[in-house]
């Protein structure tokens, strides 16, 4: 029999409804897996055994009473920048170590109401700034396909644990690729929904005009169910989308025959590793064989997307992170004056990457440099958005590799910020435009490391994105599981 920890969300939900499995048994299987893999992975920062077991017992009651929904009793992992009442929330930062939030974020509240079982809080690059989950004040997370390599980031804790069976699904946040890139490196599905589709209330802000919560899962179908559990207007987030929700999974089995699919040229050529490029091309050919009309689409302003992003995101971060000043929560280092206390607290509490981005953003926003840097970046953002809108006049979806490379060794890029930033080459444009995008695993390279395929669609075009993503998943037939995804781990 399949180890319940390896079940998909939809499969497990069916097994729970059919009473073939209880929520407590399912949670026990997941906790056993976590116990076996965590010493090698370090994907969780905290595990809430008691709370999870209590929720699992309530879930079993809900199934008995017939009140269960699609997420009732499903063990999930939450990135540790999603605030959870009564559960420590650190953003992987010393400045928030020990912080126990007095409220739940909206996505968390909806998941609790749906009866989902929160297994624990997962590791991330500090304040979600990074592409490897190495910038954590509490130690790096490792890739379940090869523990000497990074899981990607910043949501690497969630993607690593979902790949290894430490949860059936989970959530991360994506500001420049922080769900999709680690999903690609860990061989799982990762989705960045349309900006505004999921409330950001209770997501500790990094760059507010780019941040978006999204699901991580082991199948496209599971990612739809998870997203449906958190999407929708929220009066507590003024930027959340107020109109009718798009259909998410209505066309999953429609296939791609007759669809117009564009290869995003600037995201699929220069800088892409040959093995990734080859796997990408093979999948594009298969989509063509499946009846899609393939064309190449040029998005020239996207060549400067990375530059624009590394001005806009730090600018917003420097403003958002001003709230961490040693007054209301978190760390305080004493000083003679309030200003000295704040300066010492922040210098001590933030790690190097966060410090670098605060400085960068403060500079980009400061008098005399604003127009040349931040102002110009905002105009480039307009150009990029216009290019996407214009592209979607002639294609239904755009595709590219998700990450230029597969998982890289720990420490490989930590001394070279710019090399690390290039990890997000293919994913950043969708954050700037606000459009939805997802990564679907399509195979492995010569080293056995997963390769991801990115599907992009116009704003609120989730139905089209998932439709293409589901066909990519079917065509790839990617069934491999991470070597660490077993309850009997034996590593040297």
């Amino acid at each position: 029999m399949t180890d319940p920890a390896d079940l998909g969300v939809v499969e497990a939900s069916a097994a729970l409804a059919a009473k073939e499995l209880s929520a407590t048994e399912l949670l026990q299987a997941v906790l056993t897996r976590v116990g076996a893999t965590e010493p090698h992975l370090h994907s969780y920062l905290s595990i809430d055994r008691e709370g999870a077991m209590e929720t699992a017992r309530s879930a079993d009651e809900a199934y008995s009473e017939g009140t269960a929904g699609p997420l009732t009793g499903i063990p999930i992992a939450l990135k540790d920048n999603m605030v959870t009442r009564g559960l420590e929330t650190t953003c992987s930062s010393r400045i928030l170590a020990g912080y126990v939030p007095p409220y739940d974020g909206t996505a968390v509240r909806r998941l609790r109401q749906a009866g989902a079982v929160i297994v624990g809080k997962t590791n991330l690059d500090e304040f979600a700034m990074g592409s490897s989950t190495e910038n954590s004040a509490f130690g790096a997370t490792r890739n379940p396909w090869d523990p000497d390599r990074v899981p990607g980031g910043s949501s690497g804790g969630t993607t690593a644990t979902v790949a290894a069976g430490g949860a059936l699904g989970g959530f991360g946040s994506d500001t420049g690729g922080s769900i999709r890139q680690p999903a690609s490196l860990c061989g799982v599905v990762g989705v960045k929904p349309t900006y505004g589709l999921v409330s950001r209330f209770g997501l500790i802000a990094f760059a507010s005009s780019l941040d978006q919560i999204g699901p991580v899962a082991r199948s496209v179908e599971d990612s739809v169910v998870l997203l449906a559990g958190v999407a929708g207007w929220d009066p507590l987030d003024a930027t959340s989308y107020r109109g009718d929700l798009p259909d998410l999974g209505g066309s999953l089995s429609e296939g791609v025959a007759g669809l117009r699919i564009g290869i995003a040229a600037e995201l699929s050529g220069d800088g892409i590793d040959p093995a990734v490029a080859a796997a990408f091309r093979t999948m594009v050919d298969r989509l063509a064989d499946a009846g899609a009309e393939i064309s190449e689409v040029s998005l020239p302003a996207c060549t400067e997307a990375l530059s624009a992003y590394y001005l806009i995101a730090p600018a917003e971060c420097s403003a958002n992170l001003a709230r961490f000043d040693g007054v209301r929560y978190g760390l305080r280092i004493d000083g003679e004056t309030t200003e000295e206390m704040m300066g010492k607290t922040r210098a001590d509490g933030f790690g190097p990457e966060v410090t670098r981005r605060i400085l960068l953003g403060t500079y980009a926003l400061s008098a005399g440099y604003y127009d040349a840097f931040y102002g110009q970046a905002q105009k480039v953002r307009t150009l990029i958005s216009q290019e996407f809108r214009s592209a979607y006049q002639s294609v239904d979806a755009l595709v590219s590799p998700t990450s230029p490379t597969t998982a890289f060794p720990l420490g490989d890029r930590t001394d070279d910020p710019l090399a690390m930033y290039l990890s997000d080459l293919c994913t950043i444009p969708s954050n700037l435009s606000g459009d939805p995008a997802m990564s679907v695993p399509i195979g492995v390279d010569d080293l056995g490391l997963p390769i991801g395929f990115q599907v992009m669609a116009p704003a609120l075009g989730e139905e089209m994105m998932f439709r293409v993503g589901a066909e990519v998943e079917r065509l790839a037939g990617f069934k491999a599981t991470a070597p660490l995804a077993t309850s009997e781990v034996s590593l040297p």
């Binding site: 912080y99 126990v100 939030p101 007095p102 900006y195 505004g196 005009s209 009066p235 003024a238 930027t239 989308y241 107020r242 302003a301 400067e304 990375l306 530059s307 624009a308 590394y310 001005l311 420097s318 001003a322 000043d325 040693g326 007054v327 209301r328 929560y329 305080r332 003679e336 004056t337 309030t338 200003e339 000295e340 206390m341 704040m342 300066g343 922040r346 210098a347 410090t355 670098r356 400085l359 960068l360 403060t362 500079y363 400061s366 040349a372 840097f373 970046a377 905002q378 105009k379 480039v380 953002r381 307009t382 150009l383 958005s385 910020p417 710019l418 700037l432 435009s433 606000g434 704003a459």
Partner: protein
């Protein structure tokens, strides 16, 4: 475009009390990053409006209803220092002599 950074000033504006060695290190890294980021200036943007937000949006209002606020004690339990239910900080005003 050559990048000229008064890193000590930027750190002061950022409320980050860094050591001289740290300032030197970050200053050098910022120069490299800004040189790359400065490439945004290579695109022609005459007449292009800046985008501050990805989707068109207007003021979002909600109904003006009284709802429970956060539990005061639970909030204050997270404060590094508090006095009588207030957040406490070192003296902000110079004491009168």
């Amino acid at each position: 475009m050559p990048v000229d950074i008064d890193i000590a000033k930027v750190a002061r504006l950022s409320r980050l009390e860094l050591t001289p060695e740290e300032l030197d290190g970050y200053g050098a890294q910022l120069e490299v990053i800004l040189e790359h980021a400065g490439r945004v200036q290579s695109l022609a943007t005459e007449g292009v409006e800046p985008t501050s937000h990805p989707l068109p949006s207007t003021n979002a209002f909600r109904a003006d209803e009284v709802t429970p606020s956060l539990d005061h004690d639970e909030v204050m339990s997270q404060a590094p220092e508090s006095v009588d239910g207030y957040f406490a900080v070192p003296s902000i005003l110079e004491e009168e002599s």
